[in-house]
């Protein structure tokens, strides 16, 4: 009985965790992802997607997870998309995929793709536990870490902190003028 409790307490599943405030929009993560998983440099097939807003100067990385309930798994009609019961990472069993593309539309982060050249679903597999994107990210905007210890920053908090930054500069500016 004690043994079982120990396992539950010690185990920390890691996820890709994003700190939106740090991202500079360099897209090195997209390059690293395809360099590793496609053997070439092709951001259109990256399993991570950087959304860049040039007009307001903001960059938002989208990665797979962390999803409490994974819509891609729920929607898959043939159980090709599944969730590892221990790591909680979702993965695609390609041999079962019928290319219905339901998951592409269901993904809350927009990171499941259909590769129209090879007709297959492209989905992050967390590089089998050694994510290339997190290693390549120069700013620490993508981390591979335990969800519970990571700062839980969502998109809204980036925008909020962005506005707060504007407020802060405003106060300092009025202080010196």
């Amino acid at each position: 009985m004690y043994e079982i409790q120990d396992i539950e307490v010690v185990f920390i599943p890691s996820h890709l965790v994003v700190d939106f405030t740090k991202c500079t929009g360099c897209r090195i993560c997209e390059l690293a992802c395809t360099a590793k998983n496609e053997g070439r440099f092709q951001p259109s097939l990256a399993r991570v997607k950087i959304v860049r807003y040039d007009d307001i100067g903001m960059d938002l990385p989208n990665v797979c997870g962390p999803c409490e309930t994974a819509p891609c798994v729920d929607i898959c009609p043939v159980y090709a998309m599944r969730r590892d019961p221990i790591t909680k990472v979702t993965f695609l069993d390609e041999s079962k995929c019928i290319l219905c593309k339901s998951c592409v539309g269901a993904c809350v982060n927009g990171v499941i793709l259909l590769d129209t050249a090879r007709m297959k679903i492209i989905k992050c597999d967390h590089c089998g536990g050694d994510p290339e994107c997190a290693k390549a990210c120069p700013t620490g905007a993508i981390n591979y870490t335990d969800v519970s210890v990571a700062p839980s920053l969502d998109r809204h908090s980036k925008i909020t902190s962005y506005l707060r930054e504007i407020e802060r500069t405003a106060q300092e500016a009025s202080g010196v003028e």
């Binding site: 360099c26 090195i28 690293a32 440099f41 092709q42 100067g57 390549a136 120069p138 500069t169 405003a170």
Partner: protein
Amino acid sequence: MNEVTAGGYKGKILRVNLSDSEFHVDPLPKDWIKDYIGGDGFGLKLLYDEVPSGTDPLGADNKLIVATGPITGTMWPMSGRTVFISKAPLTGIWGESHVGGFLGPELKYAGYDMLVVEGKADHPVYINIEDSHLDLLDASELWGTTTDQATINIKKMQHDPDIQVAAIGPAGEHQVRYAAVMVNHARAAGRTGMGAVLGSKNVKAIAIRGHGGVDVHDHEGFFELAKKAHSRVRENPQAKEMGKWGTWVLTAVKQEIGELPTYNHRTGVFPGYEKLTGDYIRPRFTVSDRACFGCSLGCKKVNYVQTGPFAGTLEEGPEYEGLMAFGSSLGVDDFATTLKANQICNRYGMDIISAGATIGFAIESFENGLITEKDTGGLKLEWGNREQIIRLLEMIAKREGFGDLLAEGSKRAADTIGKGSEKYAIHVKGMEVSGQDGRTHRSIGLGHATSARGADHLRSLVVVDQLGYEDVAIKRWGADKLPEIIDPYTEKHKAIAVFESENSYSIRDTLIVCWYSVSWPPIFWMEDFAEMLPLATGEKHLGKVENLVEIAERQITLKRLFNNREGITRKDDNLPDRFTKEPMPEGPGKGQTVNLDPMLDDYYTLRGWDLETGLPTKKTIKRLSLEWTKAHS
């Protein structure tokens, strides 16, 4: 991989002829790779071959080239750059302008190494490239809009936010001679007037979307080396500083050596410089840090102004050059003004350096009574007038009133005004001098005088003397050249420093990688490129530094031949009298002037150019396999 080419390349040149609305795809000539590598080099070869002397830069016969290099679109640090090349409207000679952002990689992903825009459309169009889908689309609705509006609207019309757009604004449409092409809203291919070339061809924008990839020769080897290269950038202390402050670190350094252009380069120290330094700006204005494609340094800063007349301005930039051009050079000790001016230039699509310098020329001419309120339409031009600068920029972009004259650049404006106003037009070969001063940074005096596109700080600027990098100087040029080589106030050894820097930067511009990975901070140099290029391309020839040096020399000499063909000789490799005859009036470099001739002699000797004429000698032409140019025959 494409059979006809080497790794990294797409093997295709896309041509669009606007006069007959036709697209063509030509194979990339394989022999260009060995001789020119890519980017700047490919564009140079093509422009030399296809745009003969005497071509009107704003006529239908001029061509605009968008070029990339073998590693564009890969993960090599800071390799997302793009070059625009054309015969320059500002100078009438060789024109090129490099830009960061994300355009070049997208062109590669669409399947092309280069885009060549030829002819002239009979109504406003935009060029839309989506992989092999090629369209010339009507841009009447976009004509007259600013660069950011045009970009946003094209993305909307194409229903794709990931399209990369290069757009011109009202300045390009009105063929302002220093109009810029803008990408990603705030990244400018600014200098020499590439935006005016597009404007003259009725092209509002180039929109590109690519879904393909780039394959290098040895993927694993290249990927590993690229990751190591990124680590070098991430660990480099100067790069870290750049990531935090951007180019703003320069303001204080240049004030310290007396090289901060102030009042139209009259002096090199500015009492209000502190408000234009990173220390002052970042905590008060900066809201986010951004980067260009594949860059782990991230020097771009987004800034916001809350108070004062420019409250509400949210814009990326300006760089040091903008702080100089609209700050110290116009007597403005206010960051908000420089940000606003930068925003106007970005949106209207204008080069900040030439715009600021042309305004400076006008103010100084006014101050000295060479122009009056009658010429300016009632404006009393004066230093440090913040709103007036913004007003003038708008007038220039739209060629309104007095702005029409200033839209021609300082040299042409001085020619029109006459009365000796030429002495306030601080330019070389028609291009306004950037934010350096040869009097207190001697090597840049030589660089400004000899650069192919005019007074240029990006083709041969030596920073080891300016910033006193002794260790780097020893490594590159040997301890025997110290202390002179790092002394900014002496001519000695400056030709060799300029020559070798120019060679390295020339390779940088073929790859194409960012200035901030090579030049300053000095992270990568020739030997790093020699290690990387064979992995990327499979061309062993490119793995030897001596071969890269030869390619660089070929390139610089071919640009020279292009300019010679347009009439440029030694007499044009000069500096404004301000730098050679007016001693620096104050500051740490007080009393300094540039003695150009000895540096020119040394430089020509190193380049193998004739001392009297400045033309490449027959021997040099043969050594660099440039006989095909038929120069001297």
